[in-house]
Amino acid sequence: MSVPFYALDEVNEKGVVLGNEALARGIFEAGIHVASGYPGTPSSEIMETLTRIHQFHPTFQIEWSINEAVGFQVAMGASMCNARAFACMKHVGLNVAADAFMTATYAGAKGGFVVLSADDPNCYSSQNEQDNRYYGMHALCPVFEAINIQEAKDVIKYAYDFSEEYQTIVMMRTTTRLNHARGDLVLGEIKSIKDRVHDYDGDRSRWTFLPSNARIQRLKQLERYEKLKELSNIFPFTELKLKEGSKVGLISSGIPFSYANDALLKLNLSEKISTLKLGMVFPPPESLIKELFENSEKIVIVEELEPFLEDIVKKLAFEFGTRVEIAGKKYFQRNSELNLNLVIKGLTKFMEIPNPFVDLPVKTIDLHKASPRPPVLCSGCSHRSTFYVLKLIEQKSGKNFVYSSDIGCYTLGFYKPIEAIDTCICMGASIGMANGIAKLHDGPVLAIIGDSTFFHTGVPGLINAVYNQNDVLVVIMDNSITAMTGFQPHPGTGIKITGEPGTKVPLEAIVRGAGITEDHLWVVDSNDLEEITKAVEEAINTKGPRVLISRHPCALFEKSTQRDLKRIPVQIISEKCNNCMICIKNFGCPAITLKEGKVSIDEMQCIGCNVCIKICPFDAIQVKE
């Protein structure tokens, strides 16, 4: 097997890589010992890239943890033992890890410890677009950002030295536009930190947060924070560029700084506006900001999401008693992400100059007539057959089911033609909220949750339902992999991140251990419509907390891993087909389509699950001979 570019030993080699690959390379170059995390877009490829690097350089340990809290704790334990540690998560993952994070930041780090928060402005693949810079402020933890791929690698590498030297945990905050961007990268030297003693250091009062110790650690944290404030002014990735004769200043960081840079180029303002680029966004460099105040009459802050820097800068202006005009969210929207167009629009308004880029030649054409492409469940997806049967039985029963759902592929059951999903808030909330809904709703309450999500945070909700006797039917849609983030293994698969065998943790064992008895547990094959129908009917008519495990491997994963699997697509028998479209409108598999007005099967897409055969009232769908 040939070595991928990001795993090469050669220093100064140049290549084009994904942001997440650059971040992984930086962590590797820093001499990582332990990496842990839970998959979540846009962060997942960092751990996957580290795993690829691990294949060629097995100098460190790596794992998928069952959730971000455990992942963070694994890294914290390693840092405590003087190892360089990495905890990887998407922005909402830090909410899960926050309990540990808020206290661990009192004690700080021993071995270099970087926690990466991949934020997702515009909610491309997330339930919200929270701004995790506030977590840094909340925990007095330094927050680093990078403006491009090269910096992403360099900053996170530097973060390890910084973390160790100042005994602080560092938060590397990225956004989708860095994680999922590509750019040129020059490889750096791979540090080897082998001759280090790794073990618990015996510093019991530092790591044991009894109130008496916590009070002392709190003071140490505040002391460390004062030091960090000074260090922010000399941070190597922070840069103040004062332009001669300029009366205007611009403050920005991360990807928005790259837009600001390009906007100034486009507007020919590069030499007329002083810029302050922040590599450490928290704590901010107070002296540099003061210097910019002294050289400016007005200052604009270009940042995505919340007015985080704007509020800080305004507070500093008040403290310094300066009269400089400060603006930010007045010109840049608070929701969604920025782009070059929006930054140019905001900057021209701020500068009170005309925007030369408003007159588009396209304005006579309605671009919205290109029909939308909302995501649908894949062809052959086993969730579709489970939903189909659930909806069928709901219709027959005449009762109103509530489908409390969770984070995963099955939430696509919100869209047409399934339109089942009623809720989706956060990981594990399907069961948790179903506990509450069941107290009030007159009719079956279903919690729809995937296998990986069940391991992540679903288990406590189930135990709660058993303990409190809440009338909830938990449907675990087990496709035997983490599919929405791209096929990561989990405890139920028994495979570790490296591909080596781990110990399999069967869902049934957990469910039984939580107190679900055999007469309240059904395990069925999702694609066997008769079997699942019987099970759902029984489960709906049973009272109390109960679990239905609907299991069938993810069709895409099976297709990509078992290439020799025999797939026999179905065909439409045209003499029998009435073109009633029941298969398209009610079942909605993307492999069933219309060709010249006639229902037909797209053989490129059909994976041969054969479920649709049972749906057709005219026996017009049959296995291809």
Binding site: S2, P4, F5, Y6, E13, K14, G15, V16, E21, E48, T49, R52, Y124, N148, I149, R182, G183, D184, S258, N261, D262, L340, N341, I344, F357, L360, P361, V362, I365, L367, K369, A370, S371, P372, R373, P374, P375, V376, L377, C378, Q395, L412, Y415, P417, G486, T533, L556, N578, N579, C580, M581, I582, I584, K585, N586, T593, L594, G597, K614, P617
Partner: protein
């Protein structure tokens, strides 16, 4: 997933002939058409030509039939991955309605290379229904008794348990025929002309535009347009998956951005599977031929 470039890049420092400092390209299509791969080939080529490279991708859940866009910028002074709207040098579309969706990035000089490939989203089909023109309808109920899904639902002897979802799709209320939500939009009643008064109309919440009209829109904006049936050409070459390489060949042929034919071709070879090397080289050359001819006509 991850970049799987095995070669070390093999950087060449080539004199930049053009006067421009930065170039903007946009590759668009749907999941599975090779958009990201094509953009990576362009990105590595730009690196080899000695440029700074930036790309950004919008794909979300592309495996599930979504739109994919890959913004590519390369040059000397740029920093961010996005271009200003209307500032594109090249638009390459692997699916024709995706070209339409992204025309706001185009100006009259932008070179547009698009495949005729038209992929209708499955969601378009599930957003189809019917409308009754109440001016014409007399409530005769002919459409109710001639509705196939309605018959299936009302057939009490129906052994097909699994089709009994949704419910009635037609009824007569207050002297008018009504279309209910469970209408499948099969439009069979229109095809068979079951309504003696012609009161039934198809109602498409979403509609895939006619390809000829999309072509017209594209040509109305830019003077530099090549629209070709890349899928057909790719099948002729022997592998439908080479359609994206054909379009890259066209790009090399029209020679509008400073990525040379030799560098592009070499990078294509790095990115395609070894067993499909020959067929991809043929595909690239066919595309190049088409692209260079366009130049001569102008």
């Amino acid at each position: 997933m991850a970049t799987d470039i095995n070669n070390k890049g093999n950087i060449k420092s080539q004199e930049l002939i053009s006067e421009k400092e930065n170039y903007n390209a946009l590759c668009v299509g749907i999941g599975g058409t090779g958009v990201i791969r094509a953009s990576m080939i362009l990105g590595w080529s730009a690196l080899k030509e000695g440029f700074k490279v930036r790309t950004a991708e919008t794909h979300g859940m592309s495996q599930r039939g979504g739109s994919v866009s890959s913004y590519l910028r390369f040059g000397k002074t740029l920093e961010g991955p996005f271009m200003v709207e209307g500032d594109l040098d090249v638009l390459i579309a692997f699916e024709v309605s995706e070209a339409l969706r992204n025309l706001h990035f185009v100006n009259k000089d932008t070179f547009i290379i698009t495949s005729k490939n038209a992929v209708v989203s499955p969601s378009v089909l599930t957003h189809r229904s019917l409308k009754i023109d109440f001016e014409k309808c007399v409530g005769c109920g002919n459409c109710v008794s001639h509705c196939v899904p309605n018959e299936v639902f009302l057939d009490s002897n129906n052994k097909h348990f699994f089709t009994l979802m949704q419910g009635r799709s037609r009824i007569v209320v207050n002297g008018y025929c009504r279309v209910l939500e469970s209408c499948t939009g099969c439009v069979q009643c229109i095809v068979d002309e079951v309504c003696p008064f012609g009161a039934i109309e198809a109602f498409n919440e979403w509609e895939y535009p006619e390809v000829a009209l999309i072509e017209k829109d594209i040509r109305s904006i830019s003077n530099n347009v090549i629209i070709l049936d890349a899928n057909k050409l790719a099948i002729e070459v022997g592998n439908i998956l080479t359609a994206n390489v054909i379009l890259l060949g066209v790009l090399a042929g029209v020679n509008r951005i400073p990525l040379s034919k030799s560098v592009l071709k070499e990078t294509v070879q790095q990115f395609v599977p070894k067993k499909a090397l020959d067929v991809n080289i043929t595909a690239f050359d066919i595309g190049f031929e088409i692209g260079s001819k366009f130049k001569k006509i102008r």
